[in-house]
């Protein structure tokens, strides 16, 4: 298997070098005035709400370009539609590499979608930077895929945090898990088990649902029937809100741990409005971004910058926390590009990306550092715990490592 990859690397690498050796020996996708990067994102179909990750990043790059760019070059960011279909992702990524000749693949969205192109990009030594997915593999498997890097705190680590916290603060809990039956949900569940360690038998019931389901009332009822008093909600916003609503309907008020994907203030607000302040009181979650729908960040300079960029450069709906994520990852890319030197190459930007130490990201929680090293391919691995109190998130404790 490895031998074949070396074969591919050899032949295609030679092809790539041959086409890149154009006179001034400048890197593919880099000219004296522009750096061309590309990625895939769902622009059509029913995952198309996630396109704000790309659009937020694009707006940020436009702002950077308007302020001189990076080392006198503008960043041109091209994103193509894959309709959330990994086969299309493979096709469009090839197009970006072979036809558009991008410098690097950046901010492509989706776990299966990025897995589809990882071997191809690594064989060609093309950076697959800041994959928009919380799957642990993108940071963990760097030995096999050194050109790939994730960005957000990964799901398994998040689950581990919740597990450790419950084991420490409520060792007699009866835990029930509602999880989406794909990698996202299963990663969170695996992390939970990991964090609970010897106390894994506190998990009394595991209920899964499919993303194409309409509702999870049945699963919630089963959790209640198992006499669970702590619910791990590893579900997307639609089903997270439902969990609160159906629990109330069943006359049940467990302590709920809401995974970060569903913890945005506007989502919790809908859950509270649909039930009561009491029902959502005491919920626990992780946070690492400045949530634009959370009133506590209203006057924050980082959030104001975010809103002004969104408005001026048409980034889309400013209440969309995915757009904040997009700006943060774009901010980190700019830092890496700066560090890659006056004449960036693919190798130099990977070196930069694996030695990041960015402290001033305006869109992340204060005090957070975007940090990577040769053995640490997890740029964001800090978060705060927060508790939902009287209809707002209140963070407690300090920043800690999400590992």
């Amino acid at each position: 298997m490895k031998r074949a990859l070396y074969l591919l690397v050899g032949a295609l690498g030679a092809l790539v070098l041959a086409t890149a050796a154009t006179g001034a020996a400048s890197e593919t996708g880099v000219t004296s005035s522009q750096v061309l990067i590309g990625g895939t994102t769902p622009l059509s179909g029913n995952a198309s709400a996630y396109q704000s990750v790309a659009k937020g990043a694009a707006a940020y790059f436009r702002w950077v370009n308007a302020h001189g760019g990076v080392n006198k070059r503008k960043i041109k960011y091209v994103y193509k539609d894959d309709g959330y279909d990994p086969s299309k992702t493979a096709d469009k990524t090839r197009e970006l590499v072979q036809q558009d000749k991008v410098f690097a693949i950046f901010n492509s969205l989706g776990t299966e979608q990025n897995l589809a192109t990882r071997a191809y990009l690594n064989a060609l030594k093309i950076p697959q930077l800041f994959v928009a997915s919380g799957a642990t593999t993108f940071g963990k498997d760097y030995k096999q895929y050194p050109w790939t890097m994730g960005y957000q705190p990964n799901y398994r680590a998040e689950g581990t945090i919740y597990g450790r916290y419950v084991a420490k603060t409520n060792p007699k809990a009866r835990i029930g898990v509602l999880y989406q039956n794909d990698d996202y949900g299963k990663d969170l569940l695996a992390g939970l088990r990991n964090g609970l360690g010897k106390k894994a038998k506190l998990i009394k019931s595991k209920q899964s649902y499919d993303v194409t389901d309409d509702q999870v009332q049945s699963q919630v009822a089963r959790l209640k029937a198992a006499k669970v008093n702590t619910v791990m909600l590893f579900a997307t916003p639609k089903f997270a809100i439902q969990t609160f609503v159906y629990a109330q309907k069943l006359g049940w008020k467990p302590r709920v741990y809401v995974n970060a994907v569903s913890s945005a203030a506007n989502i919790m607000g809908l859950a509270t409005a649909g039930t009561s302040k009491k029902q959502t009181e005491g919920s626990i979650s992780l946070v690492f971004l400045k949530d634009p729908t959370d009133p506590k960040w209203k006057q924050d300079p980082g959030t104001r910058l975010y809103r002004s960029i969104m408005k001026k450069y048409k980034g889309g709906n400013p209440n969309d926390v995915y757009a904040v994520y997009g700006m943060s990852v774009a901010h980190t890319f700019v830092a890496a590009l700066k560090k890659a030197g006056k004449n960036p190459t693919r190798a130099s930007i990977m070196r930069a990306a694996t030695s990041l130490n960015v402290k001033n990201d305006p869109f992340l929680l204060p005090g957070m550092t975007v940090h990577t090293s040769k053995t640490d391919h997890f740029p964001l691995d800090q978060a705060k715990l927060q508790r939902y109190h009287n209809g707002h998130w209140v963070s407690f404790g300090g920043l800690f490592r999400v590992r």
Binding site: L8, A11, L43, D85, P86, S87
Partner: protein, 337 residues
């Protein structure tokens, strides 16, 4: 003598044009673009098969995307689990899908029209879940990635493919493979349509009651039509897997079945040449829609609007238009003096 020779000369000219177009099309576009052409060829194969079932035999199938899944996963599984070379899996991909098509055709014996459509619809809707469940074979939600798990089985891994001493890029190879099989499949379909089997298909389409009275075995005909269209879908699915080097449940959702049906109807039910246009339509429409604007919702809106407009302007598809245009030509040619 004049008329007959003219007819033959016309056919020879048409075939020559097709072969020249086939051979030289990749030169007209960039290397990568041959992939898009190849994908159009893949759709072409699938909708020729679907046309045999729906256009000629009158059976509606909303599940041919799932049959493509069968073919695609057969290819992937053979490559990853049994280490078959990608191109050699294609016939088996077609065969497996043909068998599944036959099995789907069995309810056709009891169900008619709408209810048959619902049965095929159910199959299409269930396919991603089935693919996820039997993960030992299918790789579950992550699917199978041939570049990682079966790279040696990929033709053109190094970027070039050499056939009979002739060397070409992998992208060109995919194009020639897809359209080569497409032309052969077209020929076979054309022969079927002109044969007694084809007439049996049309009899079943036009009136099941009359066909039964004429002694036609409805059961055999319908299941055969399902099976043969399944073979085409399976081959197309296998080619798709070969080209993208990956299979995943998200590729084979109900949307794919819709795309195939749209391609068939736009191309023209009961018209084989129209399928070329149908294939290009479904291949390029998504990109065109995204080019209009990437504002949320606009690509989907343009996509749907294009389909509606085409159907309103050409209710019998491009094939219907072709028939209307070609009729004066062909009838005059074959009229006996």
């Amino acid at each position: 003598m004049g008329r007959r020779a003219l007819g033959i000369a016309l056919w020879v000219a048409v075939v020559a044009v097709i072969l020249v177009a086939y051979a030289f099309a990749p030169r007209l576009v960039s290397d990568f673009h041959s992939r898009d052409l190849a994908e159009a060829g893949i759709f072409f194969i699938a909708i020729v098969g679907l046309n045999l079932l729906t256009g000629y035999t009158g059976q509606i199938s909303l599940g041919h995307g799932a049959l493509m899944a069968v073919g695609g996963y057969t290819t992937a599984a053979l490559m990853v689990h049994e280490h078959w070379r990608d191109v050699w899996t294609i016939p088996l991909a077609g065969l497996t899908a043909g068998v599944v098509g036959f099995l789907i055709g069995l309810p056709a014996l009891r169900l008619s029209g709408l209810y048959l459509a619902m049965a095929t619809f159910a199959f299409a809707v269930a396919m991603p879940s089935l693919l996820r469940k039997f993960s030992g074979l299918t790789g579950g939600g992550q699917g199978l990635r041939m570049l990682e798990d079966a790279p040696l089985q990929i033709t053109g891994l190094s970027g070039t493919v050499t056939i009979f001493g002739h060397s070409m890029t992998q992208n060109h190879f995919l194009y020639y493979l897809a359209w080569g099989i497409g032309l052969v499949g077209f020929l076979i379909a054309w022969l079927i349509v002109r044969s007694r089997v084809g007439r049996t298909f049309r009899a079943v389409r036009d009136s099941e009651v009359a066909a039964t009275s004429a002694g036609i075995n409805l059961a055999w005909t319908k299941t055969f039509a399902f099976a043969i269209s399944g073979v085409y879908a399976g081959v197309a699915g296998g080619l798709l897997a070969t080209q993208n080097q990956i299979v995943n449940p998200l590729t084979f959702t109900f949307l794919l079945s819709i795309v195939l049906l749209v391609g068939t109807v736009v191309g023209g039910l009961g018209s084989l040449p129209g399928m070329v246009v149908g294939a290009f339509f479904v291949e390029y429409l998504p990109d065109v829609s995204t080019h209009v604007s990437t504002a949320p919702g606009v690509p989907d809106f343009v996509y749907g609007a294009a389909i509606i407009v085409v159907m309103i302007l050409l209710p019998t598809g491009v094939g219907g238009l072709l028939k209307r245009v070609a009729r004066p030509l062909t009838t005059r040619l074959y009229l006996r003096p």
